[in-house]
């Protein structure tokens, strides 16, 4: 009998369902998400395929693919999903799982995207707010991409599009405390 290898308990599916609050099993593979997704063209596995892979318990493949990092959480897919599955929440659940369990997709693109998010969170931790110019500069330095967007800088600075200075927030201290507590809470799970 064809069993799709589902005799074993699909712990991956269970984990994703629990984290996302969605039920991936409800997906009937119509593909509307994939044809709606604005970044489908950049994905190795489009949303429809990811959903099926979760059903099949293909944890390693799903956690190592670049595709989950390209999701922009624009919610176009879930808005059109006939089964009303919160697909961005599923993508988010996978990303959180990969971070918790130390999966590291190898492509430079994903490394850059993750580095950007890390710098962003770091910036909030330090200042309580985010400073665009500083973030761009730090991103370029930390991804060894020194001249990226440099041609935009003179015009943007001259026109006052991106201000040079930044304000300090009284909240910075409170935010740092929040980071510590959030980390503790994360670990206590």
């Amino acid at each position: 009998m064809l069993t799709l290898g589902l005799e074993e308990k699909n712990t991956f599916l269970e984990a994703i369902n629990k984290k996302s609050g969605a039920n991936v099993l409800e997906c009937y593979q119509c593909g509307k998400c994939a044809s709606t997704c604005p970044v489908s063209d950049f994905m190795e596995f489009r949303p429809r395929v990811i959903m099926q892979m979760i059903k099949l318990g293909m944890k390693e493949e799903v956690c190592m693919t670049d595709s989950i990092w390209f999701c922009l959480t624009c919610s176009a897919c879930s808005g059109r999903c006939p089964r009303e599955i919160d697909i961005p929440a599923v993508m988010e659940a996978i990303r959180h799982l990969t971070i918790e369990e130390n999966y590291h997709p190898k492509s430079k693109k994903v490394k850059d995207i993750r580095k950007f998010h890390e710098i962003f969170l770091d910036m909030i931790k330090r200042y309580g707010r985010n400073y665009e110019l500083r973030m761009m500069a730090e991103f370029n330095i930390r991804t060894r991409n020194l001249f990226k967007d440099m041609h935009l800088a003179p015009k943007a600075l001259l026109k006052g599009k991106i201000p040079l200075g930044h304000e300090s927030t009284k909240s910075a201290k409170a935010i740092r405390k929040m980071y510590e507590m959030a980390e503790k809470l994360e670990k206590s799970k």
Binding site: K19, G31, A34, S35, P38, V39, S40, D41, V49, F70, L72, T73, C74, S75, A76, S78, G79, D86, P88, E92, R95, H96, I99, K109, D112, I113, K115, F116, H117, E118, F120, L121, M123, I124, G128, R129, N130, Y131, E132, L133, M135, M136, K148, L152, K159, G160, K161, I162, P163, E167, T169, S171, A174, I175, M178, M181, A182, K184, L185, E186
Partner: protein, 314 residues
């Protein structure tokens, strides 16, 4: 006089300072007193929710807690990304009081969250709480002659279960506000397509591809300029436009203005208040269409060129 608790967001004090500035002018004319939360923090968009769950809730929640210290019952948010994070957090917290209590009590030590304050984008606030009639009544300089394409992006109306505002597919609120100002809002099919948002820095290739399509469709629609209500959309469409033109071998020359810049203009504020110098794509030529008498348009149905990747099938 109405009271509004105001959350500007990081870019209002940075790249979208003209949004913040004109918003304040507009609210003054509309008799709304804005009280900025003095000690607000970054809501975490667009990174916190990608990387971590607790912090993704805690950062917006702190602002929601601070907002409850004001008398206003509505928190108005300038940036669409901030709005999305704040509203998502509010909806999830209100649905799950236990989770709210856990995050509130362990991570935030500056007050208790009760859920009293409503969260709205400034577009939603203008449309629902001020209303088209009031906006119309304040117009001293009609924008007649100007054709605009209203671009909403993803987050102002999506996901519909969270925003509960306008249509997630083809919203009309901004179009109606523009028409109240006298401008003509053109039919525009890419109103809610994503511009690539946060990938602006980390994956410029994706942003140029997505934003290029939006610009192309807006150009075809016959608009003189694009109107937005989100700082990320604005900077992707405006600042990256010259690069997109170069890389894709096309010419758009489409200025991208904030909703509030045009409102302020129609309410009689001088052009110098619009901070037009900050635009990368110059806006002066587009604005010169205001007041021009237009010949009645010939009623021919245009055949729109199919845009690639729309009907893409795996």
């Amino acid at each position: 006089m109405k009271k509004l608790t105001y959350f500007p967001g990081c870019s209002a004090h940075g790249t979208s300072e003209e949004f913040d500035h004109t918003l304040k002018l507009v609210m003054k004319t509309l008799d709304v007193e804005m009280e900025e939360i003095p000690d607000w923090n970054c809501c975490g968009a667009t990174s916190a929710h990608v990387m971590t769950e607790n912090l993704a809730y805690a950062l917006p929640l702190r602002n929601l807690v601070l907002a409850e210290k004001f008398t206003g019952n509505i928190m108005g948010i300038a940036c669409a990304s901030c709005y999305s994070r704040m509203k998502t957090t509010k909806v999830h917290m209100d649905e799950n009081p236990e989770l709210a209590k856990k995050i509130n009590s362990t991570i935030i030590q500056e007050g208790n969250y009760t859920g009293r304050v409503e969260v709205k984008s400034m577009l939603q606030y203008c449309y629902e709480d001020i209303g088209l009639e009031t906006i119309k009544s304040k117009v001293t300089k009609s924008l007649a002659g100007l054709k605009v394409a209203c671009y909403y992006g993803c987050l102002l109306t999506r996901p519909k279960g969270i925003t509960k505002f306008d249509s997630p597919e083809y919203p009309v609120s901004m179009d109606q506000i523009m028409e109240a100002l006298g401008a003509e809002a053109v039919e525009f099919d890419f109103k809610t397509e994503c511009c690539g948002a946060s990938f602006s820095i980390s994956d410029t290739e994706i942003v140029e591809s997505l934003t290029g399509k939006i610009l192309e469709v807006a150009k075809e629609s016959g608009a003189h300029l694009i109107v937005v209500a989100c700082p990320l959309c604005q900077s992707n469409l405006d600042m990256r436009q010259p690069d997109i033109e170069k890389h894709q071998g096309k010419s758009f020359r489409l200025p991208v203005m904030y909703l509030t810049q045009l409102m302020a203009l129609a309410f009689g504020y001088p052009e110098s208040d619009m901070r037009l110098k900050k635009h990368i794509v110059p806006v002066e030529e587009a604005l010169s269409n205001i007041g021009k008498i237009q010949e009645p348009p010939p009623k021919v149905t245009k055949t729109k060129k199919a845009v690639s990747a729309e009907s893409e099938v795996e």
